[in-house]
Amino acid sequence: AVVSTQSGHYGRGGMATLKDIEMRLKSVKNMKKITSSMKMVSAAKFARAERALKPARAYGTGAASLYEKNDFDTSGKDSVLLALSSDRGLCGGIHSNVGKMVKAAHAETPITKAIIVGDKAKAILVKVIGDTFLSCFNNVGKKPTSFTDALDIAEEVLSHDYDTINIVYSKFKNIVSYNTEEKPVPSLESVESNAAIYVYDEVDSEVLRCYQEFTLANIIYHSMKECEASEQSSRMSAMENATKNAGEKIDALTLQYNRTRQAVITRELIEIISGASALE
């Protein structure tokens, strides 16, 4: 009888290695259960986020219409970076892509002021632009973003002086893709100093100030909803891949386990047979 001799599977008696494979199998099977359930949770959260994104998009696009239809200066030298991410990982490249875009922008024009939303972006960016952090927000990602969250962030942004805000966020494209984008929003001063605004009737300082504040909160809200949909769909993909990989690993380990088990039995048979023939 030919005995398969895969190297590395013959420890002392081979039984110890069998145990090793058994333990690995158990742990990979557990991992598969976890990633599979995480995928289902993400799928549910994604469905909700995608539904909420629809009105948020109409709302945010409406809010930004003044800036879309008019050319306000957003090249301001005194700009604040607003990076939108969340506290939770295992969502593919979502957070690292925000980090990449910020780092690239920083290399072109050094960032002097930054407000970071989400612990993940904070961890990535603290080494690069940590000294520019005006404020950081966390507790993001566990529950869906509410308009109140956007109001809090807008309030913080507005408490500083600036020409432009650059919002870096993940814009949702479809269930398998998103784009990391930078969206500039002009400040009240930028808008007021541009003659284009006076095309609009009834524009006085107070009206414009209220309008800008509310519009900023609206744009931040919309951007956060885009991030939410992008993140949940990305996590769904990541967990789906992890589950599939775990499944393949389980198949490979099971094959290995069975071969090892058969090899061990064969060896024991040989020992018994040769022992018996030695007695004869």
Binding site: A52, K54, P55, A56, A58, Y59, T61, G62, A63, S65, L66, E68, K69, F147, A150, V199, Y200, D201, E202, V203, V207, L208, C210, Y211, F214, T215, N218, Y221
Partner: protein, 144 residues
């Protein structure tokens, strides 16, 4: 959908309206005939080719007349209204409620509670907040 409703040039007497809250897009670039809204400078109406305007909403009733001529009424919290040179209109409010959905009992109870808050308020901020509540509830009563 952003930008102009592509059908608009072919439907005179209408203009594209986006009217929504963060959670509810009532109209997304839909063609309507007229909108009446409450602003800080008073109640005003919007017809096609209205002069470009930027306005701040105050809590009150918005009436929207659709292409068919039906009028729908909504109660809104404050927010913003924009009329662009291209006649598109964006009305964004933090909260929107169809007037038909207003619960009169809840409003009257709320008004009483707010009046209580005003009489027991100590700081100027608390008094102002209670006063705003009272005005909003009274506005809701006259909307229904």
């Amino acid at each position: 959908s952003s930008g102009i409703n592509a059908e608009w040039p072919l439907r005179p007497g209408t203009f594209p309206l986006t009217f929504g809250s963060p959670y509810n897009a009532v109209h997304d670039n839909a063609l309507v005939k007229q909108v009446d809204l409450p602003s800080t400078t008073g109640h005003f109406g919007i017809l096609p080719h209205h002069v470009p305007t930027i306005a701040i909403l105050v809590p009150g009733t918005i009436s929207i007349t659709n292409e068919a001529g039906d009028v729908a009424k909504y109660f809104v919290s404050s927010g913003t209204a924009t009329i662009h040179p291209d006649s598109s209109v964006q009305i964004l409010a933090e909260e929107i409620c169809a007037v038909a959905d207003i619960d009169d009992g809840a409003v009257r109870a709320g008004l009483e509670a707010a009046q209580g808050k005003l009489s027991s308020a100590s700081s100027e901020a608390d008094k102002a907040a209670a006063q705003i509540e009272i005005e909003v509830y009274q506005s809701m009563i006259s909307a229904a």
